[in-house]
């Protein structure tokens, strides 16, 4: 492999950030110094005024393959991820059929290995994600699966969830939960509140999420097993999980960019692009999530990238599927949410280091055949890096996405900050903001 040198970016290490050059040879970081005398054939990447840090890791991507390739494939999702600065993706199991067996997990791992990124797999907790009987977690873990979830829905039956937590504990894997009590959510299509009442849409109450968060915190307390809370969307959910974490319980959580950028008022004109579960919440919930991000208490930002073929988002609001795209815009939105005093260390913590820990993709983790992510930017580390330009002003165009689908809620939105380059496993996959 040839050499690549990243010049004069702000290198965001674990302990300190300094302007430096970074030399990459053969997929590893070979040197980090204020100035580097690079080999003559090394590719020069100008990173002045940019941040250079560990490549992003998405804990929550819907790659749709197998079953819904018209919306996205593992390959197109990986391209979208790379543009968004991601070097690793955790593929969600709500494919068709669900990823609840060795055969299907292998299928995705094999296809993922053909992309430049590391594609890890989250296996289903229950067979076919029906919430009734456990899926073969041990067999899947032997293939490197470290996260299990029925995402799309939460495990509704508390006895099944308890059993799953108990079973998972000795396997050294982590369960993850989409917290929403389906009965309380009542088939609703947006956040329950005065707005849903006026619009004549059935609402999904915040309590549907918070009640399951409360339940699962207690189940964690009972079983001692680790649990990761997917896409927490309300201020109260956040409070509950932060308190549980402060108590020392093995819980982690993620927040999705749409929940800290948009609120329920986006649904007022019934555009299905804003329909998502859990739904866009009230303004004070959005504020609480942003404040938590800025305070540095959030474990991970995860995209919940959910592609849907255009004809499906052309249905009436009630009938359209829930979910929006996220891979290509998460970094910019996270940067904006961190505000004027955006701290690069926090930025890479929530986008890379935190998720890498939850996904067990760090250097010291048992990470199967995947390379290491979320590490220090120092000699010897695997070269999974993202170069982020915090000064770039640009506008989103839904026709110019790498994703096969177009259901982004950010079309025509002005953004500040953009991924300039992505180096995955030592290979430059995105340069000057474009796929190479």
């Amino acid at each position: 492999m040839s050499a690549l040198v990243i010049r004069q970016g702000l290198v965001v290490g674990v302990h300190a950030s300094d302007v430096a050059d970074v030399l990459i040879i053969d997929g590893h970081i070979a040197e980090v110094a204020p100035t580097i005398d690079a080999p003559s054939d090394a590719y020069e990447l100008d990173a002045r005024d940019c941040w250079v840090g560990p490549g992003f890791v998405d804990l929550h991507t819907h790659l749709r393959e197998p079953g819904r390739e018209s919306a996205e494939t593992i390959e197109s999702g990986a391209r979208a991820g790379a543009l968004g600065g991601y070097c690793a993706l955790v593929a969600m199991p709500n494919t068709e059929p669900a990823l609840d067996s060795v055969a299907l997990v292998s299928y995705v791992l094999e296809r993922g290995a053909r992309t430049p990124l590391d594609v890890a797999v989250a296996g289903a907790i229950t067979k076919d994600r029906r919430g009734e009987s456990l899926a073969p977690m041990a067999e899947m873990a032997a293939l490197g699966v470290r996260l299990f979830t029925d995402d799309g829905v939460g495990v509704q039956d508390p006895s099944v969830m308890r059993r799953a937590l108990t079973y998972a504990r000795p396997l050294g894997v982590r369960l993850a939960q989409h917290c929403e009590d389906e009965a309380l959510a009542a088939g609703g299509t947006m956040n329950e509140g005065a707005l849903s009442g006026r619009l004549g849409l059935t609402g999904r109450p915040a309590l549907a999420e918070e009640l399951m968060v409360m339940r699962d915190i207690e189940l964690v307390r009972l079983t001692g097993s680790a649990l990761h809370f997917l896409h927490l969307s309300t201020a109260r959910s956040l409070e509950l999980v932060l308190a549980a974490r402060a108590e020392g319980l093995p819980v982690t959580f993620e927040v999705a960019p749409h929940h800290f950028t948009l609120d329920e008022s986006a649904c007022a004109n019934y555009d299905p692009v804003f329909k998502v579960h859990p739904p866009l919440r009230a303004a004070n919930d959005v504020e609480a999530l942003r404040a938590a991000l800025a305070r540095g208490v959030v474990d991970a930002v995860a995209t919940d990238h959910a592609p849907h073929a255009p004809e499906l988002k052309d249905l009436v609001f009630d009938e359209a599927p829930a979910g929006m795209l996220g891979l290509e815009h998460a970094a910019s939105l996270t940067f904006e949410a961190l505000g004027d005093a955006a701290d690069p260390a926090t930025f890479f913590q929530v986008l890379s280091r935190g998720p890498a820990r939850v996904a067990q993709l760090r250097r010291g983790d048992d990470r199967f055949r995947h390379s290491a992510h979320g590490g220090d930017v120092s000699v010897g580390e695997d070269a999974n890096l993202t170069v982020f330009d915090p000064t770039c002003e640009w506008v989103v165009d839904r026709h110019e996405l790498a994703s096969r689908s177009m259901n982004t809620p950010y079309d025509a939105r002005a953004m500040t900050g953009r991924v300039r380059a992505t180096i995955a496993r030592g290979r430059l996959v995105v340069d000057q903001g474009h796929l190479t």
């Binding site: 006026r198 849409l201 009436v316 609001f317």
Partner: protein
């Protein structure tokens, strides 16, 4: 705030100002007169095409709209659900595009999903969309004809005309709306119309049939039904929207009648001049006793007959007011 629906779509009464609503009511007065003539037809929309798109079946409302369009001399394209290809999975956008390719000026639409009319208006921005009822959201022409009917009856009583009275008769008028408010698009449109015109609106329903955030509505929720009946000048009844799942929200129809039905006994609590209204179809014996329906206080027939002039007024203002049309 929309000050006039001339040349616009009509999607929700929430956005209309008092003047906009009065303009429709005043225009409808002329069409009441047209509907009394031998030749109930004017050439106002001659050469225009109005499509009626009823994804949710409703013979009465559809006929009312189609009659209104025909009496304005418009050409009417009628698409009922059974013959529509929407059931086969054709997206809403495609159905509209197909019809639009035939060159329509306006579409009257009813759909079981809230917001469908607004979504359609985004697909075909050059077409006037008249919302004939979208899910639980709004039924603007019902709200308008209800307000019109109240004005009509009260102005007769006060020996004046609707035109002369403007919105005066609504100032402080006590209107009670009862029943499944949560699932009712008529309730949302009625409250908007009545409150905007200056009436004092009260709502009474079983707790489970009140909408989320009702405290933000321009109406007061009251729990004592009997007291509310004695207070009201107008009582608007709504039926249980069982096709929208309201059956699960009350124990039974009998229970609903027990708590919130306008029984003969309860009707004696009403003031002698109180008006009783219902948007139809009525479930006699559930929200209203048959004998009460047939009493003179019930002006349901007037509501029905005012449907065509109101819809003529709406079509006239929305479509003729759009400024493009056939010349000499």
């Amino acid at each position: 705030m929309i000050e006039s629906i001339r040349g616009r779509s009509l999607l929700s009464l929430n956005e209309l100002s008092k003047d906009a609503i009065l303009e429709v009511l005043d225009t409808a007065e002329s069409f009441v007169e047209v509907n009394r003539r031998t030749i109930k037809k004017v050439p106002a929309l001659k050469g225009r095409v109005v499509a009626s798109l009823f994804f949710e079946e409703s013979t009465r409302t559809r006929l009312s709209f189609e009659t209104a369009a025909k009496r304005l001399s418009a050409d009417v394209l009628s698409l009922a659900v059974a013959s529509s290809s929407v059931k086969k999975g054709e997206s809403l956008r495609d159905t509209i595009a197909t019809i639009d390719a035939l060159g329509i000026d306006a579409v009257v639409m009813r759909h079981r999903s809230s917001g469908a009319a607004l979504q359609v208006s985004r697909y075909v921005p050059h077409v006037k969309v008249i919302n004939g009822g979208d899910g639980q959201h709004q039924h603007p022409t019902q709200g308008l004809l209800d307000a019109f009917t109240i004005r009509q009856v009260l102005s007769e009583r006060h020996d004046t005309t609707g035109l002369e009275s403007g919105a005066e008769l609504f100032e402080g008028l006590r209107i009670l709306i009862v029943g499944d408010i949560r699932h009712s698009r008529v309730a949302r449109s009625d409250v908007a119309a009545y409150a905007t015109l200056g009436a004092e609106v009260r709502l009474c329903a079983p707790g489970t049939l009140l909408p989320e955030g009702v405290s933000t509505w321009p109406a007061t929720v009251v729990e004592d039904f009997d007291e509310a009946l004695a207070w009201a000048d107008v009582v608007g009844l709504l039926r249980l929207q069982s096709e929208r799942g309201s059956g699960a929200f009350v124990a039974s129809l009998d229970e609903f009648t027990f708590t919130h039905g306008l029984t003969v006994g309860r009707s004696t609590l009403l003031k002698p001049e109180t008006l009783i209204m219902h948007p139809g179809p009525m479930n006699r014996g559930v929200e209203i006793d048959s004998r009460v329906v047939d009493s003179s206080a019930a002006i349901v027939e007037r509501q029905v007959s005012n449907g065509v002039p109101i819809r003529m007024a709406v079509l006239y203002l929305c479509v003729a007011g759009s400024g493009e049309g056939p010349g000499l």
